[in-house]
């Protein structure tokens, strides 16, 4: 059924030309990096300040203000780009705005102090793409995040959006599958299953109804690229999903998205509305007779629902408990019907693959892993943010060239990938090229792309304990090895962090970890021991220090550390005295203080409050 305000489209190209003809390419433009992280860094205040400043100078009509998705370089947000000139200003404060408008917008002058300064050369950098953080990246999926207003479907169409859908409808499902297979695109949810094969299997599977489901339940703590894509370029995901529905023979798709991502949900809703209005969704899409619709389902905060069989159960409203596979969802998925389940990044790749062809897609990457991969580069790293790099890049390039190394001159210790299902890699592995196979071989996984850098102050035993706490809590409880095994591993790890470890604990942990991997029902159990196993493999001496010497080399485990005050450095300023929640600090004003160990709960507040570096942890 055509709705009243639905737009008649002869061809996407015609529509695009019409949109472009209405645009004023020479109009000055201010682009603000938005998204949840941009807003958390103060982008909303910057937008308000820009609006009022433009109004003050009567420039509202002349200068266009565009809020895009997240540009990825979280560490220097809030940030803007000004055109013409492609001028990049980062780390902005509201008080910088009047100067930007009066100098750059009105007089074409650059505000030098707001330019990005390269930390290694002290050089000022004018353009966003010349910043070292961006230079080694190949931004294919994330490119739209800096280019378009996610709520403006015309922006998406203007840069070629929905022409891949038009092409797919024209060439037919079999050709779509051929192109995707030839491109070598593998599922970006972490497991890396070939997408073309998955769609082919779902297409061939017998069933009256078929479904395509987008897994946007980005539950890995430390990964946020799916959120960023949904917020910044929701139409890419929608377009990929419509193509998927058409290919496998489905008329309805579900996007299962975390409730913790309110902005992504809002953008999706608004993008779906627009896609309907333009006739990309609904009945008789682009006059081809194909009908397709998308429903949003909000996940309610259960990590295990990121695993495919559990995610489908969650949509069905069933009690979420793991089940054995086969049958695989491609044969028996949602409501027992053939279902293709794809990650956000996979679906966003589809319009690129179809639009640009298999060869274009596969011209970068390694033998077995094609294209680019998005990582959330976070933790103890200077340039934290979302990065997109060609498969095959080394970890060292990512951490040092793009990430700018470790802050405060601290020493690198480990890099963690794959979230609670992955592992930690040491310095010696940094020259390894990154792809699906190499990471698995090294004892971790690609996962959904979280990459957390850890420095000398991160305790590897405590990190293993942290992840086990997480998986143990999220285990659905159906199968014994995962339910009981992770609990037992957690008990042992907790004991070790308390200095109560036994000599044979490591052997028990290893045996139990391997057993859980072998016999658990679903991916949660099959990967839960990895953080412990990989840290035992690469950082064994740290475990031994806890067990044999009762010491935590990273000075993290509370039971094994002691706070004291260095008398020579203490000025007696009383700040720690005032802040200490348990009154464990004694001393007169202007005289060196002391900590009473019996009263100290090791909360770290004195360490944080001391301005003279006088609190020591040992």
């Amino acid at each position: 059924m055509k709705t009243e305000n639905q737009i008649e489209i002869a061809s996407i190209e015609e529509l695009r030309n019409e949109i472009l003809s209405k645009r004023k390419p020479d109009q000055p433009e201010i682009v603000v990096a938005g998204g949840t992280c941009g807003f958390a860094s103060g982008a909303l205040e910057i937008i308000d300040a820009l609006k009022s400043e433009l109004k003050k100078h009567n420039l509202e009509e002349e200068v266009s203000l565009k809020v895009t998705g997240c540009h990825g370089f979280c560490a220097i947000e809030p940030a803007i780009v000004i055109n013409p000139g492609n001028i990049f200003y980062g780390g902005l404060l509201e008080k910088d705005i009047p100067e930007i408008v009066s100098e750059t917008i009105m007089n074409g002058k650059i505000v030098e102090r707001l330019l990005y300064v390269d930390q290694s050369t002290d050089e000022k950098i004018l353009h966003e793409e010349d910043i070292p953080f961006y230079k080694k990246q190949t931004r294919r999926l994330l490119a739209n995040n800096s280019r378009i207003d996610p709520l403006n479907i015309e922006d998406y169409i203007a840069i070629g959006g929905y022409s891949a859908l038009e092409k797919a409808l024209e060439i037919g499902p079999d050709s779509v599958i051929d192109i995707i297979k030839a491109s070598g695109l593998r599922g970006r949810g972490g497991a890396g299953f070939p997408t073309g094969t998955k769609w082919e299997m779902t297409r061939k599977a017998q069933g009256e109804e078929k479904f395509i489901v987008c897994n946007a339940d980005e539950g890995d703590p430390g990964a946020f690229m799916d959120r960023s894509l949904l917020e910044g370029t929701p139409h890419s995901v929608i377009e990929g999903m419509i193509i998927g529905g058409f290919t496998i023979g489905s008329n309805i798709g579900y996007i299962y998205v975390r409730k913790e991502y309110p902005l992504a949900i809002e953008h999706l809703h608004r993008a779906l509305e627009k896609a309907h209005e333009y006739g990309f969704l609904g009945e008789d899409i682009l006059g081809t007779g194909f009908s397709f619709d998308i429903e949003i389902v909000r996940g309610a905060g259960a990590f295990i629902c990121g695993e495919e069989t559990n995610l489908l159960k969650s949509i069905e409203g069933a009690i979420v408990e793991a089940r054995t596979r086969p049958p695989f969802p491609v044969n028996k998925g949602l409501w027992e019907s053939p279902t293709a389940l794809n990650n956000v990044k996979t679906l966003s790749s589809i319009p690129l693959v179809i639009g640009n062809g298999a060869e274009w897609y596969s011209n970068i990457g390694t033998n077995t892993s094609k294209g680019t991969i998005i990582f959330a580069l976070v933790g103890k790293i200077n340039n934290s943010g979302l990065i997109e790099v060609p498969m095959g890049i080394t970890l060292r390039e990512i951490i040092y060239d793009i990430g700018g190394g470790i802050p405060k001159g601290k020493k690198f210790k480990a890099v963690q990938t794959g979230g609670p299902s992955g592992g930690c890699l040491p310095e010696a592995m940094l020259d390894m090229p990154v792809d699906f196979e190499s990471l698995t071989k090294a004892g971790t996984i690609m996962g959904s792309g979280g990459m957390i850098v850890m420095d000398e102050n991160t305790c590897m035993v405590e990190i293993a304990r942290y992840f086990l706490t997480f998986t143990q809590d999220e285990s659905c409880g159906k199968c014994t090895p995962c339910r009981e095994g992770t609990k037992h591993m957690l008990d042992i790890l907790t004991r070790i962090t308390k200095g109560e470890g036994h000599e044979d604990d490591l052997t028990v942990l290893e045996n139990m970890g391997n057993l859980i991997i072998d016999v658990s029902l679903c991916a949660l159990g099959k990967t839960a021991p990895k953080p412990a196993l990989s840290t035992m493999r690469y950082f064994r001496e740290e475990y031994e220090a806890h067990i044999k010497n009762k010491k935590c080399p990273a000075k993290v485990c509370k039971a094994l550390i002691k706070y004291s005050i260095v008398a020579d450095k203490c000025t007696g300023c009383h700040l720690c005295f005032r802040n200490c929640p348990t009154k464990a600090i004694v001393g007169e004003a202007k005289k060196a203080h002391d900590i009473i160990p019996e009263k100290c709960i090791k909360c770290g507040i004195c360490f944080e409050s001391c301005r003279f570096d006088a609190v020591r942890i040992e």
Binding site: T36, S41, E260, G301
Partner: protein, 177 residues
């Protein structure tokens, strides 16, 4: 209906609440009239309406939608975000994702627990604060992150959180201050 003998005693607030629950159920039935029903969306709508999932909503859903009450309880207790207790006046959510963790989120949780005398997942005795933890809010570059009444505060430390809390103490300010 089975509950008829209780009906006479219902106060105005209860009647209103049940009315709201019925509205949410009616909208749900309409939304999925022509397709498979997605039960979790109904629970999400209840959560959105009340800021928690009242027990009476589960009872009502069970009666009206023909779902066993035990199953509804099972779902409501399984999902982290479906809380069964009402929220306090201010909602504090500490992100305990990996990045926030390596940057000291557990010290923030410990500090809040000690300062407000409340376990994560619960509300202070005076009803002013509900403290919860969340596995990841996806704002890792700003960790440790604390969300108060929907507003994100990045690069937090126990002392910074203590300062923030002053703004939200009883009688001092309303939401979104």
């Amino acid at each position: 209906m089975k509950k008829s003998k209780k009906k006479g005693k219902m106060d105005q607030a209860t009647i209103e609440r049940l009315g709201k629950i019925d509205d949410v159920i009616a909208q749900y039935e309409e939304r999925y009239e022509n397709s498979h029903k997605v039960l979790i969306e109904l629970l999400q709508e209840i959560l959105e309406t009340f800021n928690y999932v009242p027990e009476e909503a589960l009872v009502r859903i069970s009666e009206k939608c023909d779902v066993p009450l035990s199953k509804l309880f099972s779902l409501a207790t399984f999902y982290n975000s479906l809380r069964l207790e009402p929220l306090g006046k201010h909602h504090i959510c500490v992100c305990v994702g990996t990045t926030c963790h390596v940057n000291g989120a557990s010290d923030i949780v410990d500090n809040l627990q000690r300062k407000l005398n409340v376990e994560p997942g619960h509300t202070t005795a005076d009803g002013n604060f509900t403290v919860e933890t969340v596995n990841c809010l996806g704002v890792c570059a700003r960790g440790p992150l604390v969300e108060i009444d929907g507003k994100y505060h990045g690069n937090m430390t126990p002392i910074k959180v203590n300062k923030l809390l002053e703004k939200y103490e009883n009688g001092k300010s309303d939401r979104d201050s």
